[in-house]
Amino acid sequence: MVTQAGRAAEAAALTDLPDAEGHFGPYGGRFVAETLMGPLEELRLAYLKYAKDPEFQAELDNDLAQFVGRPSPLYHAERWSRELGGAQIYLKREDLNHTGAHKINNTVGQAMLARRMGKQRVIAETGAGQHGVASATVAARYGMQCVVYMGAEDIKRQAINVYRMRLLGAEVVSVESGSKTLKDALNEAMRDWVTNVDDTFYIIGTVAGPHPYPAMVRDFQAVIGREARAQILAQAGRLPDALIACVGGGSNAIGLFHPFLNDNSVAMYGVEGGGEGISSGHHAAPLCAGRPGVLHGNRTYLMEDDDGQIIETHSVSAGLDYPGVGPEHAWLKDTGRAQYVAATDDEALQAFHELTRTEGIIPALESSHALAYTRKLAPTMEKDQILIINLSGRGDKDIHTVATLEGIRI
């Protein structure tokens, strides 16, 4: 049996990660071509310096307040809580941020870092287009050149976000290789970076990639959990019993989870894209059904075949349609500090409609996966227990997808 002190020591150790080489247990690290090793070290040192720089932090706080619109509310969804008949549900409203999702917390931070490092050109990968839009937005604001790599398949599915990026002045490059989706966009962005590394800053959109990206993106997103923790203490006078967030690459989930890691009474649930169901094989749930491997600069759980080839993922939500996951989640899974589950496309759609009609909030399909698990968990809990859900994005971008699935033409 693990002692209280043992658990506390383990939790304290979790918040100290990654180690100097970017490892979370056996995960993470820096698996890239040699050309990028020097630039990654330069980035790590710059980030280390500015993370402790009061002037940098003050500018970041100001931008988050005045440009992003933080703090985002923590909203008590009283009617939905009553209908589910169990725990009190609080929604962390990242959907109310500028550009409509949590992605902007990170792009504001990385763009500030790029400016201080003297890089005039930024590149990004995007799946659904949310991170691409958030990158194009900060590039427009700072007058930086911006190139966004997006899979040809995703460009077809997300025409409106492609146009948004172009309005903001970004060049959107269609990626025709491999499965023509997010993972291939990431490959292509890496190829651009290795070619233009002298003047280019690569804004990775999630807590994956080579060290220091998983730690740096987490730190920029941890504002979500810091605010939520203070807000729930102010509103309810106590910590929540559990946190729930969807996990694609995992940046919104880590952002919420990380500031609670030392609060041993707080359970954590990451919800992956279950697609047509785990047993169908058509899903995007590497933590639930994958195994460890190396892709995109880090060791983590992957969707792969017996030859080590990365396999295609399936999710109704483009933002979850990724075969890997941030290495810190891999370690939180192995240590048991967080639990990872999956919600199917159908379950997510049901939750999408339920929240829309019960609370007047249209959630992103990604966030709807977290809501789908909430529908299962909340009724099993007592009425005085508390759940915090990361409502990581708004559903405007998904209206066409939902309508099409229901046979409606807009």
Binding site: E21, G29, R30, F31, V32, A33, E34, T35, L36, M37, G38, P39, S177, G178, K183, D184, N187, M190, R191, V194, T195, N196, V197, D198, P292, G293, V294, L295, H296, G297, R299, L302, E304, D306, D307, G308, Q309, I310, I311
Partner: protein
């Protein structure tokens, strides 16, 4: 002494520079690979680099990406590549073979199991594009325990300290990536490579090969003038791609580009040895 070290020793004593063609195993179909390997040796290859197809070749340009995709249509995995090397060894026990690829297929097979199987198949060296020495400790140990050479890539951005680290962990030869970019790009600056090689040689005793951007006989000869080996990938794979719908013609025609490079390099090496003798 490993087959790779022996080959470099022999070439050095002859005053010749090694020519190392790269092909992706299974491109455009598995039956082409072993006959093509033999044909490349006949055309003048001193070592062979055999690419292990991977679904996400992050360090490769469009030419080798497409080669991987053609091979993966036939589900060519690491097991199949080892079978090809074993088959190649039926007729050629002298030419060193280096596997080049990404870490994940090796990770899935398991380092020790892979090293044993590679040794048994007749592989001599392993070059893993996305495995820098910092992360390579376990794989290097597994390879060395089976007398396989771990080959590292050095880049224009590599510090002296990193080159020393690669030199200590690696063996066989050191592969210098001639520019910042992906395979097959047209960015080769011969003078810049020459300057960097002076710096690299101060930090390693290993033979130094140069790859990325060697596109024709002229560039091969220019680079041969100051390197120990010239690695040719995309220029050859482009010939394979052009003949992809006529696989019978690949073995006869694709190696011509290697023969042309061999001739130009030998002329350069001969000129160099005359100059040295004078």
């Amino acid at each position: 002494m490993s087959r790779i070290a022996g080959r470099f020793r022999d070439l050095r004593s002859q005053g010749r520079t090694a020519l190392i063609p790269y092909i992706t195993a299974g491109d455009p179909q598995p039956t082409v690979t072993v006959p093509l390997m033999h044909a490349l040796v006949e055309a003048g290859a001193d070592l062979l680099e055999l690419g292990v197809p991977f679904s996400d070749p992050m360090a490769d340009g469009p030419t080798i990406q497409a080669a991987c995709e053609r091979a993966l249509v036939h589900h060519v995995g690491l097991h199949n590549v080892l079978d090809m090397v074993r088959s190649f060894r039926d007729r050629d026990n002298d030419t060193p073979v280096v596997l080049m690829g990404y870490l994940n297929p090796i990770e899935v097979m398991g380092y020790d199991k892979f090293a044993a199987a590679a040794r048994e198949a007749g592989v001599d060296g392993v070059l893993t594009v996305d495995l820098p020495p910092e992360e390579g400790h376990d794989l290097v140990a597994a390879l060395k325990s089976r007398q396989l050479d771990p080959i590292f890539l050095a880049a224009p951005t590599s510090s002296d300290q990193r080159i020393q680290q690669m030199s200590a962990s690696g063996s066989g030869f050191l592969y210098y990536v001639s520019f910042k970019g992906v395979t097959g790009a047209n960015r080769l600056d011969v003078q810049a490579v020459k300057d960097k090689l002076v710096q690299i040689r101060a930090s390693t005793e290993l033979p130094v090969g140069v790859g990325f951007g060697i596109r024709d006989a002229e560039t091969a000869a220019q680079v041969a003038a100051f390197s120990d080996a010239v690695v040719v990938g995309s220029a050859l794979v482009n010939r394979v791609a052009a003949l992809a719908d006529k696989p019978d013609a690949i073995v006869a025609q694709a190696p011509q580009v290697i023969a042309e490079m061999r001739a130009a390099m030998d002329a350069m090496d001969a000129k160099g040895s005359v100059a040295a003798a004078n």
